[in-house]
Structure formats: C-alpha cells, structure tokens
C-alpha cells in the first residue's frame, strides 16, 4: 500500500543535498548570454534604433532588433492546441516589437560572451520613441476614442451567461438585495527561480531548448509556431524547476533563445532574466474590477448573484479572457442553487502582462462573491457560517453552468469540520466584546469551489510509460511535470499501489524531454493528480498483467493465482511463498534467448470528466486600528479534494496556497503609475512578499470524500488553497471593525483610507 501515506518525496534527497540540477546549473561551454533591450516608456512606438555602440563593445556577438525577427504573431499561453480556431489563444506577440505596450517591452536583444557584457551593451543601444499616453486603468482603456493598444482594439474577450434561472425573477423573490464594487490587485508569482532557458543546435536541422517550464510539450509547439520551424525538430528539456505557480505555464523566453541559436550558427545561447525583469516583464495575476449584486429571501436563502467584472490582462493577452472565463465557471459550483449571472470582459492595458497564476481567475471572482455573501448574511442578521451552511450546494446538486451532477459536494462537510476544528462558536462568543478600542478582534469564513483540470474547455491528455529494469526496479516516464508540488512522488505512489512493486523500487523520471517523454500538456489547472493519475493507473494495470503473464510463462503457475508483493511474485492466497523474484523475472525477460523481451506498458489517456473540489478558510485576527495593521491569530483551511494521496505533501500544498492568499490579502501589490505606466516595485524589497515573520502558523484539514470518477478517489488540490484565505481575512476584518474593505491588498495604506473614511481614525 502506497497511496494515502506520507511516503518520502522522491526528489527530497537531491534537493536537500543541493545536487538537484536546475536550468542554470548545466554549465555549457561557450554559452552566449542574451539580454533584452527594454523600452523605457509604457506606450508608444520606436522611431529610431541605433546599436552601433553596443555592437562595438568587445565580447558582443550580435544585436537584433524588431526589424530582424520573423513577422509571425504567436500566442504564448500554455494551453493545448485547439482544433476549433475560435477557441485558440490570441496571437498578439512578435519576438521583438516596434510597438511599445508596457514599460520594459522587448524592442531589441543583445548577445554577448557574458551576461555582464550583454547587460552593458543593452544599455548602449540607443532607442528613440514616439510616446502615446499610457492607458492603465480600465476606464482609460475603455474610454471612447482611446488608442488601440493592439490592432484589434482594447477588448481581448467578453462573455455573459445567466444560469439556474432568471435574475430579474429571482430579484423579485428577494427581500434583501445588496450591491458593491470590489477590486483585486496585480500580484506576481515570485517563484524563486527566475525565468531562464537556453538553446543550442547539434546540427543545422534540430534545436534543443532547456527551460524552466511547466509545459515542455506545449513549449515545443509554440516555439515551432513562432519560428515556423518543424515541431519534430525541436526538443524541449525540462529539468528541476524552482517554482512556477502559472508564470511558467506560458512560453516566455523559449522562442527567443531558439531564434538566437539559429542566428548564431547553433551556439548555445541563454536568457536568464533578472528578478526585476521576471516581476514586471513576464506574467502577473490579472487584477479584477467588479460590480456584484446579490439577493436573499426572508428565510436567508440566496436567490441570485449578478456579477459584472473587468479583468485586466495588461500589455499582451497571454491567457487573456480564459482567466475570466475560468474564474466565473469554477465558482459556479459553490452556490449552485441560486441564479447566477456572470458578465465578464478582459481588456488590454499598458502594464505588465497577466497570465496564469495559481487558481486561474478564481481567487478574484471568489473574493467578490464571498465578500457580498458576507454582507448579505450580516444584513439578514444570520451568522456568516450558518448562512453559508444554509446556502452551499449539496451532493447530488446540478451545477447550473455545465449541467453536471455534483456527486460529491464536500463544501458542507468542510464547513462542519472547520466549525469544529476552529471552534467557531466558542470564538464567536469570546470575540463578541473585542469590537472596540485600539486592537479589535474578529473571525471570518469564506468558501470556494474549483475544478480538476480544464475539460471540456481543453483536451485533457496524459501519458505514462512503465519500464521494468534488469534489476527488477521500475522506471515511470510521465509527461506531467514536477514543479515542486510533488507530482513525481504521487505518481510513484500510484504506480506502487497498483503494480504491487515496492515504492522504493519505483522511480519517476523527473526530467521531461519531448523527444521521449509521453505526451502530456503539463502542470496547470491542478490537473495532474486527477488526469495523469488515470494514465498511471491504466499503465500500471497493464504492466502488472504483463509481469504476471511472464511469470506464468517462466514458472508454469497460473497468473490469476499470482500477485506482486514488493520485489517478489507470490501466490495471492499465500504471499509468504515466492514464485519468482522480480529481479530474476526481469533478467529472464531481457536475456533469455528464446522468450520474453523488455517489459513495458504505455498509455496515453484522455480524461473526459472534470469534477469540482471545495473548501473553506476560517480565520481569527486582530486589527490594530491606529497602526492599520492586521495580525492573524489562527487560520485554517479545510479541503474536499477526494482521497489524499500523500497527507504530508498535501498539507504542504495547502500551506503554500494559504500563504499566497494571505500575501495577496494583506501585503502584495505590483504598483503601476496610472499616468506614466511606470512600475514602482518590481523587486523583492519593495514588493512585499511575505517573509517568515509575516506569516502566521498555518493549519489545514481534509474531508476525504472518495471521488468515484478517479482511479484512486482523488481530485484536484494544488491551486485551490490559494482561493479562500483572502476573503475570509476580509470578512474577519469586517467582523472586527464593522467596516467593509472592498479592495486587495488590505495593507496599512488601504486600511488607513478605509478607517479614515469610516470615522475610525
């Protein structure tokens, strides 16, 4: 048995001993270093560019400008290719651009013998611009007569749906209707390893790209599209990766290094972005600006939710409107019994591009929903937890948007468990008289729903190959990528569980190489455990059957009576008797002259189900009114993610997501000047990424409802923990102070304004 226990991470030893190799750790002789020449303005056009001084610097090998790159517009989002053209991502990028759309846009690139020389040379490239007024706010972008940031206009996408009934009718049945405006900030992933890739050619026809990417197979396709170079002649290798959180579910520097190695006769060329470049010139989380209305009847039953949101994708579409689409869709399972109207637009702006980031639009939408739900509960005089328990979905409900039956709706279970673990009722009574004075205390709760992959929006394809080695050990090849979340370990546990081979004898090959790794679209959408879990299961069943069949061939014992126990084939009914060791069987399969062959199995499987996951956050906190400072005393996340494959690593995922949401709730915000488009704080000093002193103790719990559609009862877990902490914190601040924050982050600056406006200061 390997599933459901906290086996040791497969990569733990390599990582604690410092031997795990990341992209930058593969020193290649003769490596050239490329550095972008970035625009100093946020909106405009290059009028003249002069690279003579840069080219004259010793050690500079080449300078390319927007005039030198293929005029092929490509999309960068890490989605599977869509057969339906209308479903494809927006193709709005060139390798280098003459049209400047954000401060730091890429107008030229310098290649030199060292990074230092390249950076110095990049500063010597003289660029003259024609400036346009930067369009930063949604109002500016959508104003009549606003200049188009891209040829097609400033709206990237829009959609609207009304499900579960009719809002107008629901509004008539409501006795209380409230409305509010909420906004969320642009935050950045802050993965510790910056974006980095290098490329080289071993002959004129093949490009090899080594990259810190979540999506090696997709990266190969996009490089092929951007360079108009045959896909089969591109190899993408993904070594250990130092965090991604969605920022690397996008092709960022890969097409450029592939372009440059071709230009430099196959020489190895690396781009290693600085922290400052990573923070403002790669991807961020979309800020959302929303207007939301909701109504309840006199029994405290939620009748409708009506959302109008604008999502700002920044200078380039990247994942574009898919974020607003997913954010709305994934939230629908939370309160499936009410009417939901969701109207969303995604707009360009002259600020950093936004892409995928942990939970993909859902934190923004859930924040708005859970803020308004809180106010409705309070207005009706109902305890916020009680109100949610009354209104959240139940198992067997139909998701009003996709019309699927929700077999396990674990949200009530999560709220019940949280109530007990957090001691909600006791705390509520205790905190009742701490609502005045300088330091006030409050408790808050908030819920979320999410999904397990992207189907049916995208294909959900996963591949797994198992190989029996000569010593009886097993190699597992998967296209699903380990990015720190622990997927390699989870897959090893699954393979061990189903084959019967001992966990220690199962090795998941962590490096993806698109030349031999089975096809899989990569790490995103919390899809891997659920989707690739099916492929691992099927491949393991086939593999086990092949081993037992071969055992029968060798030993003459009927295979139906046999099973695999660790490193031996045994009788199922008498496991202490070894029929043949796995090692002897393996050696025979390889080297017997007249029978056998390498024992492998390989499955490529498309998952055609997608199940919702649920959870909630409970938080207790103090607000120092004079310091405008929030101190979290206790915080608990409770999750329904089906069967938990590895409890210790699952808790790690929850802690990480919680900390990201706490950061977004209280500290983090990438600041862009509304007039100039200047980015103020694209570094880890001025951008308030929480340190250990800023982070409270984190607690989590699971309700393990076994998911019937999945091979091991599992559902998604990676992203969801990052959704509900922020609205729970907001609701606790409201509980403590009586005033309702409407925007993130609830930093001292923003709380100061709020408290001033409400007479607290």
């Amino acid at each position: 048995m390997a599933v459901g226990i906290s086996t040791e991470r497969k990569d733990a030893l390599a990582k604690v001993s410092g031997r795990a190799k990341y992209t930058e750790d593969f020193a290649v002789k003769g490596m050239k270093h490329a550095v972008y020449v970035r625009s100093t303005i946020a909106h405009g056009r290059v009028v003249r560019i002069n690279a003579e001084k840069a080219q004259a610097l010793p050690g500079v090998r080449a300078v390319f400008t927007y005039a030198d790159v293929p005029q092929i517009k490509f999309a960068t989002a890490g989605h599977p290719y869509a057969l339906d053209r209308a479903a494809r991502d927006v193709e709005d990028r060139l390798l280098l651009t003459r049209d400047v759309r954000l401060e730091g846009d890429e107008v030229a690139v310098v290649v030199a013998d060292s990074e230092l020389i390249a950076r110095r040379a990049a500063r010597l490239v003289e660029v003259e611009y024609e400036s346009y007024p930067p369009l930063v706010t949604p109002e500016a972008v959508l104003a009549a007569g606003a200049r188009s940031i891209h040829p097609g206009g400033n709206i990237v996408g829009a959609h609207c749906y009304e499900v579960g009934g009719d809002v107008r009718q629901a509004e008539e049945e409501a006795t209380t209707v409230l409305e509010a405006r909420y906004s969320t900030a642009m935050v950045q992933h802050c993965h510790l390893e910056n974006h980095i890739a290098y490329a080289y050619m071993e002959d004129d026809g093949n490009i090899i790209v080594v990259s810190s990417t979540q999506i090696p197979h997709i990266a190969r396709r996009i490089i092929s599209e951007a360079l108009d170079f045959p896909l089969g002649n591109i190899k993408v290798i993904k070594p250990y990766l130092g965090g991604g959180f969605g920022a690397k579910q996008d092709v960022v520097v890969e097409p450029m290094v592939a372009f440059l190695t071709r230009k430099l006769n196959g020489a190895p060329v690396q781009i290693n972005l600085t922290r400052e470049e990573t923070m403002s010139c790669t991807r961020t989380r979309h800020p959302f600006h929303g207007h939301i209305r909701g109504g309840i009847d006199d029994r405290g039953i939620l009748q409708f939710l009506d959302l109008d949101v604008v999502s700002v994708t920044g200078a380039y579409a990247s994942h574009g409107h898919a974020i607003a689409l997913a954010g709305g869709a994934k939230t629908c399972a939370m309160y499936p019994r009410s009417v939901i109207r969701y109207n969303a637009r995604t707009v360009y702006a002259n600020m950093p591009s936004a892409g995928a980031m942990r939970a993909y639009g859902t934190p923004q939408v859930a924040f708005m929903v859970e803020c308004l739900v809180e106010e409705l509960a309070r207005k009706a005089g109902i305890d916020p937890l009680e109100f949610r328990l009354r209104n959240v979905g139940r198992s067997g409900d139909i998701n009003p948007l996709n019309k699927q039956v929700i077999i396990n709706h674990g949200l009530k279970d999560c709220l019940d468990k949280g109530r007990e673990v957090f001691q909600w009722d006791k705390k509520k009574a205790e905190y009742a008289d701490r609502k005045s004075g300088t330091v006030r205390s409050g408790i808050g709760v908030a819920c979320f729903s999410y999904a397990s992959g992207t189907y049916p929006g995208n294909v959900e394809i996963a591949g797994c190959r198992l190989i029996l080695n000569q010593d009886g050990s097993v190699h597992v090849h998967v296209g699903a990528t380990e990015i720190g979340q622990g997927s390699d370990t989870a897959f090893a546990q699954m393979a061990a569980e189903t084959t019967g081979v001992h966990y220690d004898q199962v090795k998941v090959i962590s490096t993806q190489d698109t030349d031999y790794t089975p096809f899989d679209t990569g790490a995103y959408a919390s899809r891997q455990t659920y989707v690739n879990g099916q492929a691992v299961y099927k491949a393991s069943l086939e593999f086990r059957d092949k081993i037992l069949s071969y055992a029968e061939e060798i030993t003459g014992r009927v295979k139906e009576a046999l099973t695999i126990a660790g490193d031996r084939i045994v009788y199922s009914a008498h496991p202490q008797t070894t029929v043949i060791s796995l090692r002897d069987l393996a050696v025979d399969s390889y080297y017997h002259k007249d029978r056998g062959g390498q024992i492998t199995s390989e499955v490529s499987y498309k998952t055609r189900t997608n199940v919702p996951v649920f959870g909630c956050t409970f938080v207790a906190l103090d607000v120092d009114i004079e310091l405008c400072k929030v101190t979290i005393r206790e915080i608990l996340n409770v999750h329904d993610s089906g069967k938990i494959i590895n409890p210790l690593m699952a808790a790690g995922q929850v802690h990480g997501g919680m900390s990201m949401s706490i950061g977004a709730a209280l500290y983090e915000e990438l600041l862009v000047d509304e007039v100039s488009g200047h980015i103020y704080n694209n570094n880890l000093l001025d951008y308030k990424l929480p340190t250990m002193t800023d982070m409270p103790d984190l607690d989590c719990a699971f309700v393990e409802l076994i998911e019937p559609t999945a091979s091991y009862g599992q559902k998604a877990l990676g992203e969801p923990p990052a959704i509900s902490p922020a609205p729970a914190i907001r609701n606790a601040i409201l509980d403590a102070t009586g005033v309702a924050p409407t925007q993130l982050p609830m930093s001292p600056k923003s709380l100061f304004r709020l408290f001033r406006a409400n007479g607290l200061l």
């Binding site: 001993s17 510790l192 210790l648």
Partner: protein, 157 residues
Amino acid sequence: MTRTISFILNNEPYTLDVDIRLSLLEVLREQGLTSVKQGCGVGECGACTVLIDNIPVDSCMYLALWADGKTIRTVEGESRAGEISPVQRAYIDAGAVQCGYCTPGFIMTSTAFVEKYQGQAVDRELIRREHAGNLCRCTGYETIICAVESCLQEQSS
C-alpha cells in the same frame, strides 16, 4: 584584475585566483557548488545563503575576495559519507522541501540557527526572526519552522 585568495570550503582548503569583481556566489558556482542559487542578486531572497565563519551570509553581495582566510560552508558539505545532516533530514521529514530552489540557502540558515541555540529554549517567533532573510514561495514557511523545531527538540531530548 585578479587576486589570490585562500579559504576553507566544506572542510577542504582552496587557493584561487579570483577576478576582484566577482561575488562569492559566482565563484562558488564556478567551482561547481550549484546549490548556491541566485534568486535576485541583491540580497533580497536568501537563496544564495552560505555560512561564512558559521554566520549566514547572502553570497550574491559578498565579494569573493572578502572570503580570504574564511571558512565557508555550503549545503553540499553538510552531507558526509552518504549521511545527510540532522537539519537536512528534518527538512525532509517535516515536508519542508517543495520546489527546492530556496532549500539549500534555508538549510544553511537553519544549520547556523540550530548550532547557535543548541540546548536552549526557542520559540517560533525567534525562528521566524532569524529566518526572515530567506524567502520561500512554496511552503508558507510552516513546515520549515516545524523542521527547525524538530532539530532543537531532538537536541534537547
């Protein structure tokens, strides 16, 4: 311009001619010690933390030539003869390892911390304060704190 410096690195003596402009981070990585990671290059993230005379230092903003005569420890030197250190073991057992990029720097900070507070009562606030120079985006720090606590508990028991 180069200068010759000598130092002890993970218990081995080294004498190197180093470019005076290079950081200790760059020199260590050139020596193959790639556990020393550059996450920012300006002392914000702590991924490049090494111990210099047993004090955690951001090697990205420490000139290599300042290391002359010093004793340097990186995480590569913490496991000996196939045995990982108690701090490394505690990180694994507590689940404090995820993407692993901040891990070597964190382990060095924790190693110095555990050696400094050996046998003393330590609370979580002290652990937090003395690890505040290392950033991690994966763990929310919870399991790292648990790992450090477990090292101290083992020592006191």
